[in-house]
């Protein structure tokens, strides 16, 4: 891992995109009263996105996989598998049979 990987994945736009995919607040239980969206939701989601990226980068062995909020995050560092590629996080959801990609969130490399 290089410092560039951390910078690219912790870029505010990357964290914002990851945060937008997080199912926060947790889904309502069936029949539960609808609560107004908590004021702090964006802050909470952004903090959680950063925590996920940090957990991914902390893993030293292949593969870098973290499961949170019912989603799976699989991370490849820059150039790890595709030549010339930035670091990449696959965000996956379980469809009842297998993990499927919801989104691929690419890190922002410094120009």
């Amino acid at each position: 891992m290089t410092p560039g990987d951390g910078e690219a994945l912790c870029h505010p736009e990357v964290l914002a995109r990851l945060a937008s995919l997080l199912p926060l607040p947790e889904p309502r239980a069936p029949g539960a009263k609808r609560e107004p969206l908590p004021e702090g939701r964006p802050v909470q989601a952004a903090a959680e996105a950063l925590a996920i990226v940090e957990a991914l980068l902390a893993q030293r062995e292949y593969p870098r996989i973290v499961e949170r909020h019912g989603l799976r995050f699989v991370c490849y560092l820059a150039d790890e598998w595709e030549w010339g590629s930035p670091p990449l996080v696959h965000v996956q959801a379980w469809d009842g049979e297998m993990w499927r990609d919801l989104a691929e969130v690419a890190g922002r490399l410094a120009p």
């Binding site: 593969p63 598998w81 595709e82």
Partner: protein, 288 residues
């Protein structure tokens, strides 16, 4: 100019699922070849059919994508035609231990100088999750909805029993060890089996990375382990239910092609295969 990792990279977009063990094997293979300072034109991958068989698409060297189960006969022919090539056969447990089993058994005892890298995920990945010959008894798949009633093939035990001179097992979650195993296998003179445990994150939710991290042991950690003692290696593999990594057994000696007259050191393409007309006539006369 020293060989760099970039020399073995391609721009081909990977088809594998995120987190697939085969990425770890590919990375280890590329790094091993760089450590050995092999030039891409000195290496040929002969790959079978399966997700694992796509490995040849993602590495910049010669690549033959053969039919299902036929990696070893094609790799054998290639090596005998050009002894200077580093020939690496690669495929899945289905490719090697099911449809390819007949070739596997004979490659083990024939001892042509090939490295055979099997990406063993205990399932058929490409065809979407059927039972494979290394699947554990009881494993539930689309083809075994009430659990696998067969017992698994034991590739390490088979290889040890069949006279293979280099038997190793690695894990795609431990890339640094796998790099060393591949280097040792390539440097071994003769057939080298490297069974690389390579989890399928999509169709095998039993034999996961965590499953193996909890259970696999390294032979270096077994007190007094001697990789030149075949009987002890077999005993250790049986006692640990195949969940051992490292070089389990190695025996030095000449390869098949070292012993056979007619397989000259220079590649066939560089040999003088010209036949003088009078020699040709003499040959014909024998059949008249």
């Amino acid at each position: 100019m020293p060989v760099k990792l970039a020399d073995f990279r391609t721009t081909e977009k990977s088809w594998w699922c995120p987190g697939c063990g085969d990425f770890g094997v590919l990375s280890a293979l590329q790094k091993a070849l760089v450590d050995l300072q092999k030039e891409p034109h000195e290496v040929a991958i002969v790959a079978g059919i399966g997700c694992s068989g796509k490995i040849g698409n993602y590495i910049n060297c010669y690549n033959i994508h053969t039919t299902h189960g036929r990696t070893l006969p094609v790799a054998t022919g290639l090596k005998l035609a050009n002894r200077r090539l580093t020939v690496i056969a690669a495929g899945g447990d289905g490719d090697g231990y099911a449809i390819g089993m007949g070739h596997f058994m004979h490659a083990l005892r024939r001892n042509v100088d090939i490295t055979y890298l099997v990406m063993d995920n205990h399932v058929y990945g490409l065809t979407k999750g059927q039972v494979s010959p290394t699947s554990d008894a009881g494993f539930v798949t689309k083809s075994t909805p009430s659990g696998n009633v067969e017992h698994p093939v034991r590739p390490l035990e088979l290889a040890l029993a069949s006279g293979c001179g280099f038997v190793a097992q690695g894990f795609s979650g431990w890339v640094p060890q796998l790099i060393e195993l591949i280097k040792a296998g390539v440097q071994h003179r003769g057939f080298a089996l490297i069974n690389a445990i390579s989890p399928c994150v999509t169709y095998n939710l039993v034999n996961t990375y965590d499953f193996y991290r909890e259970r696999l042991k390294k032979v270096e950690d077994l007190p007094g382990y001697d990789p030149t003692d075949r009987a002890k290696a077999l005993q250790a593999v049986i006692e640990h239910d195949g969940l051992l990594t490292g070089v389990l057994y190695r025996r030095e000696g000449p390869s098949y092609e070292d012993q056979l007259p007619g397989f000259r050191a220079e590649p066939i393409v560089e040999q003088d295969l010209h036949l003088a007309p009078e020699e040709f006539e003499k040959l014909l006369a024998e059949f008249r």
